[in-house]
Structure formats: structure tokens, C-alpha cells
Amino acid sequence: MIKELKSPLRIVLENYGKINPEIIEEYIAQGGYKAVDKVLREMNPIEVVSKIKASGLQGRGGAAFPTGLKWEFTAKAEDTPKYIICNADEGEPGTFKDRAILEGDPHKIIEGMIIAGYAVGAHYGYIYIRGEYLLSINRFQKAIEQAEEHGFLGEDILGSGFNFQIEIHQGAGSYVCGEETALMDSIEGKRGNPRYKPPFPPSSGLWKKPTVINNVETLANIAPIILKGTDWFRSFGTKECPGTKVYAISGHVKEVGVIEAPMGITLREIITEYAGGMRQDKFKMAQVGGTAGAILGEDMLDVPLDYASLGKKGLVLGSGAILVMDETTCCVDMLKCFLNFFRRESCGKCIPCRIGTEKLLELTTSISQGEGKEDDIDLMLQTAKVMQKTSLCALGQSPILPISTVLKYFKEEVVEHIKGRCPTGVCKI
């Protein structure tokens, strides 16, 4: 089980470690499935959509799109059948918060999916769980079966006349499948290549039908919002980003694990108050949002970690992954690692990403070997900028962020490599 650091506030993780996730009765005893009951008995679909819209809930997968709006677009789409997809293809390096929810409280996700289905008029749901998450897959399968036995899934749920069923799609190893349209192609049994957008999923998604696709953590917020209300939800976090975020902390801190905190908690608070401080050496940098995220230096320790505050600085919160690195870390070595990841995971469909990721890795590798040229820095930036503007999906659009922020803080260290010396002694020059 993933260690949960002492969360200051628990909405998504309220049952984490408290209930046996394989026993539905334990979930029900904590008030589980009450939200489904409430929605089906007391609310019409439009009211459900309005409530989620009013809560200000934003997509927790990283893009922070307003969830209620997504639901509204899909509810208004005329084509049928409609689909609900839960994106549990958690592949962003450093991210393991969805796994915590999947393993620790699967019924909460099912409940969110049923409510989403009712709200938009969908009767079918898929959860796309990455193939490496075998425990999650097994637990979720059990949870589906138990929910069916209890009449929360299937036909005529709780005598309401509403039908909804869920099937698991097991991934087969591909980072890009976390991109929503690639994920849909993958469910359809194809190669997981991202599609051209528009059209967007609410009008044309899975099998070209109206589709809501939400992240695990997003769906885990639904039942609490339905039961406790929008004012309650909005009382946490910031005005622009209400609620909590589940962060995944890894790297050179004393305690690694997941932590749920109100949106807007700072990096300094997480590291010093919850993760027990740095392991041994002094803080050098942190990467927030996974490999596709930015490097934050010491001056960013007090920036609130929410979508809006980071967005205003041209940074991203992304999935909420936080990788903390101390002074013994070499920025060039890490950058090479990040770019190797993008190169390996590029699907190859669009040229800027396919060739760009290859070139970026070549350039960084030669810098790390002391064979780089001064111009290489500009060439890297220029390449990553072109990729950002011309790539089909977020994969090719992302490398600019880690590259430009590494250069913002540690350009001198990169230049040192070009001159033939790795200051930390990590790179063998």
C-alpha cells in the first residue's frame, strides 16, 4: 500500500487505509453509494450537471478543464449512445496518486462514473487502467462485481429505471494512451495514436460518439460534492481552484508517498511539514507535474501549487507529481533522462514529435558527454519551441517546459558541461 503522508484535508482519500477496498459493505458503511441514491431519487440530470459546474471542480488529470462544462457539452450532444470513460492510464513519471485511489477506494470511482452517466445520459462506462497496475485491475474488477450484486450497476439501478454498466480496459504499455483521444483509439482496439482535434470527445469521442472522459481523481470528487454541496467544496482550496489535490511526492525527501491537501499548498510546506524535510543534502530543484512539468528552483518554494497560480507563471501543476532533487543531482543528467522518456514514448504519428524528441536527446547526450557546442543550447530551445507549436498532442508540446526551466535556473551548469566539466560529478566526461 502506498504510504499516505499526514494529509491536512481528506476528501478524495477520506476512506484511504480506513476501509477494506475489497468489501463493498465497508464502503457503504462510510456513506458509500448514498450520492448515487440521492442523484437517482432527488435530482434530474440537468441539476446534477449544474451542481458539478457550480462546484468549480476542474479535471485532476492535469489539464484542469472544468468538469461540469465537459459534462454539459456531452449532455447536450444529440448522438447516442454516449460513453463515460475513466482515465486510469496513469503514466506520467512520478505520478502514483490514481493508483492510491484505485487500490484504496475503487467504489468511489464507480460512484462518480454512475453519476456522470446519469448526468449526461450515458449507459456505458469504460475504465482504462494501465496494464502495469495489476492490483488496481483486480480490485476494480471485484468492485464492479460487488456493485452489480448490490444493484448499483446494471439495469434499473435502485429501481430508478436508469441503466449503467462498466467494463475495464487493460492498457498494454503506452504513455501516450493517457492522451484522451489516443486512449479512445486504444479502447477501440487500435494503435494508441492521438487524433486531430476538433472534434472533441463531448461531441465525437469513443466510436465517434459523445464521450465524457475524466481522470480517476476527478471522478472521486463527485460523490462528496453531491452529498456535501458546492459551498462546502468551495470552502477549500483557492477561489479559482476549489477543493483539494492529491500530490505524489518522490525523490530526495525523508518521506515519500501521497498527500491530499487544499489546492494552493506550497512546495515548502509539503517538503518541510509533511515529507519530513530533505533526506541529507540541500534542496536544489523540484519537478512539478511529472516529466512533462517544469523545474522549480528555490525561489518557487512558496508559490501556491494550484492550476491558476502556476499557470500565471507559465508553469503547470499537471498530475500533481512532485519530484524533489537535492544538490547532488545533475540537471543535465536529469534532463537527459526526461528526454529519453519522451523519445521512447513518442508514438511517431506526427513528425515534429517523432524527430524532435530524437534530436533533443541527441543534443543533451552530447552535452552530458562534454561534446556539446555553445549553440546547442539555443538549438534545443528552438527545437522544443517548434515542437510545442506544431505537435499533435501534449507529448510533443511538453519538452519545452523542462528544457526552458532547467536553463532558467541552471544554464551555467549546462555551459560547464559544454566546457568539459560536470560540477556534480554525475556525468562521466
Binding site: I2, K3, E90, G91, E92, P93, G94, T95, F96, R99, Y124, Y126, R130, G131, E132, Y133, L134, E155, N163, Q165, E167, H169, Q170, G171, A172, G173, S174, Y175, S186, G189, K190, R191, G192, A248, S250, G251, H252, V256, G257, V258, Q287, G290, T291, A321, L323, M325, T329, D333, M334, C337, F338, N340, F341, R344, E345, C347
Partner: protein, 145 residues
């Protein structure tokens, strides 16, 4: 009320075919059979099978060792994990031991960053790896029949 036609759910069929194979790969015969049953061309199914990193069309070892080299694991020392595995097994990344027992692969993030450095051996997860731990795991697996 079924969501998908099981015969057409080729990713699940490919996973199953590979799981059932002792050497962790999908044989050409199986690939053809899956294509035929799904009503798809061989090339379409081949395209799918070669897209996903968990699938292999080449014979691998009984145990496929997949070591993560993404950010958190790299930071926590995955390099030394590769070194130890390479020395112990005497193979390079991507290769299989001559006795057909082990294949060593590099993988992207496995989502077990809370136990970095980490790896998977077939369907089992191993975290907080150290050179000593690796040697013990290999010994245990090597003795397994």
C-alpha cells in the same frame, strides 16, 4: 448487454496470448488466429501488437525483468540497478540469457515511484531495490522451476 464484442477486443486477446506463452511473446500463429477471429487483416493486428511496449513478437525469457528508468527511479539510482543486473545476467538491455530464463528490459515509469528504484518481473513488482536485493531476487527466480 455487452459493451464490446470479445472477439474484437484484440488488445485483451493479445495480452492473453502473451500471458499463456511460457516465453512471454505472441507467436505468429496466434497473431494470425486473433486477426482471423476479429475479422481484421494480419497487418492491422501486427500494427497494434507492435505499438504497445508490453507486447513482444520475439521470444523472450521466462522472466521478463523491466527496470524503470524514468525520473524518480533514475534519481534514486536505477543506473546501478541496470549495472548489477547486467553483470549478474551477463546480458545487455533488450537481450535474453542463453538459457532462456531472463530478459532484461528498460521501461518507462511503472507508477511505483514511492518505492524507487523499482522494477517488475513478469507481473510482480519489486521496489526499493539495492544491489543486494537484486541478487537475492535473481537467485530466488533462478531456482524456481
Amino acid at each position: 448487454m455487452k459493451l464490446r464484442d470479445k472477439e474484437k477486443d484484440i488488445i485483451a486477446l493479445l495480452s492473453k496470448a502473451q500471458r499463456e506463452n511460457k516465453y512471454n511473446y505472441i507467436t505468429e500463429e496466434k497473431l494470425k488466429l486473433i486477426a482471423e477471429k476479429a475479422g481484421l487483416s494480419y497487418s492491422e493486428v501486427y500494427g497494434v501488437a507492435t505499438f504497445y511496449s508490453l507486447f513482444s513478437l520475439k521470444q523472450r525469457g521466462e522472466y521478463v525483468i523491466r527496470v524503470c528508468d524514468s525520473g524518480p527511479c533514475h534519481l534514486m539510482g536505477s543506473k546501478s540497478i541496470f549495472e548489477v543486473l547486467g553483470e549478474e545476467l551477463n546480458i545487455k538491455v533488450g537481450k535474453t540469457t542463453p538459457d532462456g530464463k531472463f530478459t532484461l528490459e528498460e521501461t518507462s515509469c511503472l507508477g511505483i515511484c514511492d518505492e524507487a528504484p523499482a522494477m517488475m518481473v513478469n507481473e510482480e513488482v519489486y521496489g526499493n531495490l539495492t544491489p543486494q536485493k537484486i541478487k537475492e531476487i535473481l537467485k530466488r527466480l533462478g531456482e524456481r522451476k
